[in-house]
Point group: C2
Chain length 765, copies 2
Amino acid sequence: MSRQFLAEGGNLPFSGGDYTIVGVVAVVALAALVIGYVLLKEVLAAGQGTAKMQDIAKAVQEGAAAYLKRQRNTLAIFGVVVFLLLFILPADDWKEKIGRSIFFLVGAGFSFAIGYLGMWLATQANLRVAAASREEGGREKAMRVAFRTGGVVGMITVGLGLFGAALVVLVYTGQAPKVLEGFGFGAALIAMFMRVGGGIFTKAADVGADLVGKVEQGIPEDDPRNAATIADNVGDNVGDCAGMAADLFESYAVMLVAALILGSTAFGVHGLLFPLIVPAIGVITAVIGVYITKARAGEGGLVTINRSFYISAVISAVLSAIAAFVYLPSSFSDFGGDFAKNSGNPAVIATVAVIIGIVLAAIILKLTGYYTGTEYKPVKDVGKTSETGPATVILSGISVGFESAVYTALVIGAAVFGAYLLGGGVALFAVALAGTGLLTTVGVIVAMDTFGPVSDNAQGIAEMSGDVDEKAAQILTELDAVGNTTKAITKGIAIATAVLAATALFGSYSDAITKALSGMGTGVVTGLDAAKSFINEVVSPNTLVGVIIGAAVVFLFSGLAVNAVSRAAGAVVFEVRRQFRDIPGIMEGTTRPEYGKVVDIVTRDSLRELTTPGLLAVFAPIAVGFGLGTGALAGYLAGAIACGTLMAIFLANSGGAWDNAKKLVEDGNHGGKGSPGHEATIIGDTVGDPFKDTAGPAINPLIKVMNLVSVLIAPAVVQFSIGPDENAAVRIIISLVAVAVIVAAIVVSKRRGTVISDTPAEIKA
Amino acid sequence: MSRQFLAEGGNLPFSGGDYTIVGVVAVVALAALVIGYVLLKEVLAAGQGTAKMQDIAKAVQEGAAAYLKRQRNTLAIFGVVVFLLLFILPADDWKEKIGRSIFFLVGAGFSFAIGYLGMWLATQANLRVAAASREEGGREKAMRVAFRTGGVVGMITVGLGLFGAALVVLVYTGQAPKVLEGFGFGAALIAMFMRVGGGIFTKAADVGADLVGKVEQGIPEDDPRNAATIADNVGDNVGDCAGMAADLFESYAVMLVAALILGSTAFGVHGLLFPLIVPAIGVITAVIGVYITKARAGEGGLVTINRSFYISAVISAVLSAIAAFVYLPSSFSDFGGDFAKNSGNPAVIATVAVIIGIVLAAIILKLTGYYTGTEYKPVKDVGKTSETGPATVILSGISVGFESAVYTALVIGAAVFGAYLLGGGVALFAVALAGTGLLTTVGVIVAMDTFGPVSDNAQGIAEMSGDVDEKAAQILTELDAVGNTTKAITKGIAIATAVLAATALFGSYSDAITKALSGMGTGVVTGLDAAKSFINEVVSPNTLVGVIIGAAVVFLFSGLAVNAVSRAAGAVVFEVRRQFRDIPGIMEGTTRPEYGKVVDIVTRDSLRELTTPGLLAVFAPIAVGFGLGTGALAGYLAGAIACGTLMAIFLANSGGAWDNAKKLVEDGNHGGKGSPGHEATIIGDTVGDPFKDTAGPAINPLIKVMNLVSVLIAPAVVQFSIGPDENAAVRIIISLVAVAVIVAAIVVSKRRGTVISDTPAEIKA
């Protein structure tokens, strides 16, 4: 695998034709935004149901907006600090430094905006889906509104992601890679915070509401007498919609960034532009996918969605192949210069790599559907174990999670290996291109994912208003079960982009190291010496220690997220209990509980709780890199990627399986509603809640944040690793400061207690 | 880090003095066996209680012996196959090949013998501990018998381990390393099978007995009317005693093997002999540790045990330091030849490294005690969450497991890093020496561990016989709770030896690769080329794929083990139900259930179930190594070690915490026995059972087996990676065959069903 390194200062020659191509891509991106707007109009035009339904929806909208506004203020502080810190890190010149910092803000802003939009739109759509279910042909209409809502978010996600990347390339041309690092980092950092914060919010409200409502008071889910119901519905919107939309935007942006960085080193200008062309094709096929999704009578919702996915995937593959053969030359020798050294046919390599990515998405779709869908063996088995009690439900769900994680991880590994084998001299770029293949499916995937929480919330609004009849309720329940599976699928695809992007960034990390080493003016390390010292760095117990720390951070992050949910849920429990006790008439339904209080409590707690896992993600690679060196940092990334992939899928799929096993029992199997079997699956579902909606999905942006931090600090780490002793001292001080930040954050959050009954005194009182 | 590689053909010069030292070590090892015999006599001389108690104990003894005999026959086939396969793998000459295969059998035989002895002795001791609890001063007497029983197993473990290694060194001198690989591999392979098989046996019987007895029929644990009670008690002996003893012997042997291999490359003959001297010191201090363990009135059992540990640890440290300064020269230049190039003071390096290992053991002891002991915050917190139901018990236990895994892994990582920093030119050997430091504590650790199942079983015998009064029962319950923590501690220490041994073997894997590369007669790869190709191998997406597969295998192995327990437990459930239905008078206590039938069923099932995880462990590294190459195999090992460490500790400690949270509730907290809180912690404990006693502890030998397989196949992988195209074909065929074996094994076990209610038809009928 011989890789050329990008020469200093962006000397890739950009021709007029190249500018035209980027311009066309930018126009396609803007067109996606326009189509999103058209879809939006359609969603908003749908009927809004009864006044009672609108009342409830309004309360949810207000709560969600209030949360996101406060979150924006919190994140703004982080954003400004990182914006300034980025200036400290080495870059080729000031133009690059300024661009990196500015586009960091752009990425962060886009990420937040998409999250906000996703949430706002979902709160509008919930109501309309619930309303549609009451009409004639309700099932088809409800599905259509839910899926079109997803279409809006999908269009905006790919539109803004592609537009941002195209803009960077237009402005910075050859220097684009470093600026793109900033763009991707901004997107990933904000997405991680939104995933963690939203995940804590949604599950704290959910678990808290269930513990007092279902368990203590014996009232049903979404009962308006429960003070936490509105918070629960707000949570679905800020967690599943805002967090998810930001997360998928981030996946899109970072994958694109990785492809552009590696493309330019592999194929020159062609390599920089081709990864823009493929997602532009994805925009076109996503539009087709969204418009062809029509429910047929007597067909499961998942079948409808899958059909759209497969059709648009095939179109993407065909168009990408045409683009490759038209745009790329058939031999590397046509590239001239250093690029001519590579062997193989660039057009063939690119086509097959893109198809690998598309096929990977399809396999993950199938695998996840199999492991979390109510109609297949795994979930049926979990349902069956409900007859022998909660312990066997937990164990069988964990087994399903482990097993599906293994097979999904192996499939992702096989895709990386396939791209690698194919790539020859440009192996890493082939991996990145497989990633862009995955990206062509993101539009449809976002649409599928948004479907889940929108259906879930529509059900909530229907239940709370009491204005929906039996038949309509049945429609919404079915859509909700489909939503559980589509949510799990999205998480699988998101983690696949994480692995592909991380593998590609892993390569750009090595490049950064090598470049920094060879660029050292000291003359200490050159040629064979560099190779030797590199071997010694990489094959040392230190690297293994790095791998262990990387895996440990994934476990720690997951544990922190689960604990945060427990603590915040405890606060909800105490507040709901207080309202039942202090406000007369709630139980009789004559007085309205104070919904806003619970929303406030969860808002405050989840914003407080997101800090510790967030600081861990940013500072752990800094501690390892400066403390243990480049080899250990490479090991750290590898450990985090591998363990993170498995953990993320395990958490998502075991949670999905438990949720749907519960639905199976509620559909009348194994004793039905109210039976001991139902009780057992409710316990499984409660365990699965923070798994699948808090810890699991946050691991995807976590991996990206850690990877980008590593790429950004790599040159500085090398700079301080070589040279005078003062450098070593600085290096160790930086590392110790990073460790201190992490330890302080953990100690502070520990002080708040570790379990559900450790609630702050002011709430207990 | 410059490492010298062992020259071909064993030309390390052995002087008469060297032979004397090895001889003395061998004598110390034999002395340990004699002391073990003396302790054994003391245990057997203790009182045996009532006739009814003896009856029950006899049934358990017979069941356990029958299981181990059948297991021996199964494993013998495996042993012979591997014995022959080892001849195919490259070695320097036939002497080495024959020695490697023969000592493979010796290691396997020792491992099995210790397991058998541990089991046999435990079945004798259970009865005597139960009997002692009835006497005057029962608590002290019972503790003494239990701990002396552990002493016997400890002495035999260290005695046979040290004797085996010394014998290899005496016979093979400079060629010892390759032969030791065989010895260690035999020990690890058999230990893994015994851990897995015993783990499935014990938990299938336990879970099955509980589901029918406690849950369905409402009769207490260990009630003689339950047909699975004897099987449950047999399980404690074949799992916790036989499996654990074999596992610790394997940890001891493999760590020693790693130290000897690396010692000879770092320090020459001195490096080969010093790692024998340190564990010989450990034998002496273990004797002291066992003899000074005396329970003081009013002192918790854990305090007594910890005191013995700390005293013997300090003695070990002091004696090891003296040995280092007396035996090792103060400068590397005294070694002459290649060794003179290393810098630093060998005696200081060795002393500090050994102390790092001893301190590591002490910290793990503290950490594990904190996270799983009933008197500290984590278990109390898990107990507290029982008030909000089973779901919160599960979540808080998982958090405790995650958190303790992270901190334990970081401490182990810090020890590796400390030894690495210290080691300078002999970093890997310093890591291995830290491992021998850990080994000096193994004697006491084994004694502590055996304490657990012996107390547990004594309680079972007391309960079933009904011949033990309230006070005696109280004593046995307390000892059982202490046993839960000591068991978790042992697992922590065992996994620490796994990481240290694996790190060291990781190095010897690189050596094997480098040696094989430089020894290639083709002249294709030399010097700078070798370095370049090595970099390309290591820093490629392939390596990352290897890391992902390594982590995935850990998840798969854990999932398979949990599933195996579910299936086997299902068979128990059906058999016990059948007996209740078909045999009149069982419930009234007038007819004895057919205990033997259940023992037979569990025996058959667990032997059948151990095959799939066993084959996975052996064939996965073969598939990765031959299929993806040396870089990916290195990544694979790193992924498996990192993820395995965290997973093993997570499973062990969350299981331990749940078990002790249940004990807390049973002691009258949070509602006490029979309360909903008790119910919630019973569910937690049932989930934890296969975690802590099946999947978790088997990961330790799993890591070693995979590591040794990799070291053994490394030269063959390199041989087939370079050269003509036919080699590539052979390589791929070998890999595909390995994959096929794994897939076939998984498919076969899947056919048997995946959940507790999927029981073979012949049993259902």
